[in-house]
Amino acid sequence: MEAVTVIEGVAVPFRRSNVDTDQIIPATFLRRVTKSGYEDALFYAWRQEPDFILNDPVYANPSILVAGPDFGTGSSREHAVWALRDYGFRAVLSSRFGDIFRGNAGKQGLLVAQLTEDDIQSIWAALEAQPGMSITVDLQEREVRVGDTRYSFEIDDYTRWRLLEGLDDVGLTLRDEARITEFESRREKWRPTTLPAR
């Protein structure tokens, strides 16, 4: 995974709450077996509406999505993260995120920053006053900078560290392989096994 430190770019004031992962990427795009090339699928249904914000040329090359509460709820599809990433987004700001989406984003280098509802409203106002403006999301400092205004955001220490270092989870876990093997040696016989099939 590529390390994440400071993200600077065009931010989109995305005034919608409860954006579930079915909206981020509809199920028909989940038939593919690849892990990239999902930019065409992002918000597919909404992009058919001419006045949808991402159809505004001002937001042709966005980097940061500033969304309403409960972003990424619903289905566990990691495709939602891939679609945002492939479209060019590197950070999503919201006051509340779906748990699975948040986890998936952290594994794929998409920075998910939690701000207060008031701060999101304030950033929306600033972005709408100056459409297409660039803002900065600084993971090192845990802050969003919009012009001269600074907003702190929450992200758990472990995810922040992994993002800053660009570390791969499987590699980290396998450092503890001996302890996994030891745990397995104590596993009770009644616990399920799928093989041999019964």
């Binding site: 038939r31 990691e78 699975i100 998936n104 989870d169 745990f183 009644w190 799928t194």
Partner: protein
Amino acid sequence: MTQQQPRTLAQKIWDDHLVVKGEDGAPDLIYIDLHLIHEVTSPQAFDGLRLAGRPVRRPDLTIATEDHNTPTIDIDKPIKDPTSRTQVETLRKNAQEFGIRLHSLGDIEQGIVHVVGPQLGLTMPGITVVCGDSHTSTHGAFGAMAFGIGTSEVEHVLATQTLPLKPFKTMAINVEGTLRPGVTAKDIILAVIAKIGTGGGQGYVLEYRGSAIRSLSMEGRMTICNMSIEAGARAGLVAPDETTFEYLRGRPHAPQGEDWDAAMAYWKTLRTDDDAVFDAEVFIDADRLEPFVTWGTNPGQGVSLSESVPDPAQIEDPNERAAAQRALEYMALEPGTPMKEIRVDTVFMGSCTNSRLDDLRAFASIIKGKKKADGVRVMVVPGSARVRIEAEAEGIDKIVEEFGGEWRFAGCSMCLGMNEDQMAPGERSASTSNRNFEGRQGKGARTHLVSPLVAAATAIRGTLSSPWDLEADAGSPELVQEGVR
């Protein structure tokens, strides 16, 4: 943490799967007892293993089935859509290459992954279960810690049989009282979600407790735990009891002999200690519940069927108000319209929420000997090939066909509209599934979430209805009793 401290059920299961205790803010490393796989969220995970040259650590704790993207008609013919065919074939190739047990289309154990695990007796109390599907919470009905994961985590579990996780907070959902005839598990969970909201459970495991939960069948408990994710919670739990043990006894993968005795000794300890403290508690009065139905585009936007479409102007929270306005526009509904006046085009009976034999029996008991309303399409999709065969042995297929409905093969089908089972733009459904999101059942399709009993009554009357309305129509209260559990 010492063993003497009172603990919740969730904490007990967590402690018993702790491989490495996280320090300095690092997550715990948790062992996974059972990993369920399907064709949609696994191909990129297997690719990751291949790229890194890693094997599957425990094929014997892993099982795969085809469900999300498989057809529910003509299953003996090649899958028409080439992209879908490739996806299913990719799962078959990966299962063969990595030595994973797979139940393919046509196999008696094929079906929705959350129907198959319990049916085989693989899902049992006190284990950890994961799957690349958010409705993995279903398995919590057995007192298992079960939650959905993304594809990166699927790869992680395949490679290590563990997951790095921060402990969840715990929330008690207390449902006391007795459900009235015609009110079911589905109505309980829809009412819970309407009460706490789609984000109310974020970061929590929900433990469902109380007399109304205890009196539910395993199928009813699965329906409830299934939709925990719709309240934002990754997992739901019901403490195991005699109902659980009775369901498990004799299933193919249930422990046998001495193993069963050892398991039972442990399983009986799997309850929240009396003086344990939950991080949050919610109370629901089962006596007062009515058949429930959603009006909007998230599962928290629901009301009792006897109520009307709400007026967004009455909603205080600006985000919720905007969401309600947008939802009513999408759903083409006017505030104040009685829910019972809403006419549907489609009734979908299926999904991992409500497609087990018990659900099909409830649906069939209402429609038996009747004809569906004109112009309504009725699609019945059993949860697994085995459920389908068992239902046919009881004549449920004939009841559905004589009613005018379609009797399909097993799969996720119209719940998510990934295969060709989709609604046309603007069509409206009463659906026993779990999500009423925009476009979920087809682009522009409008979904009302309901119980199997409400689905059946709606299919008869053509408008959103419950068995209570059928009773009123017939002037006889006996009609619905047999369909109620």
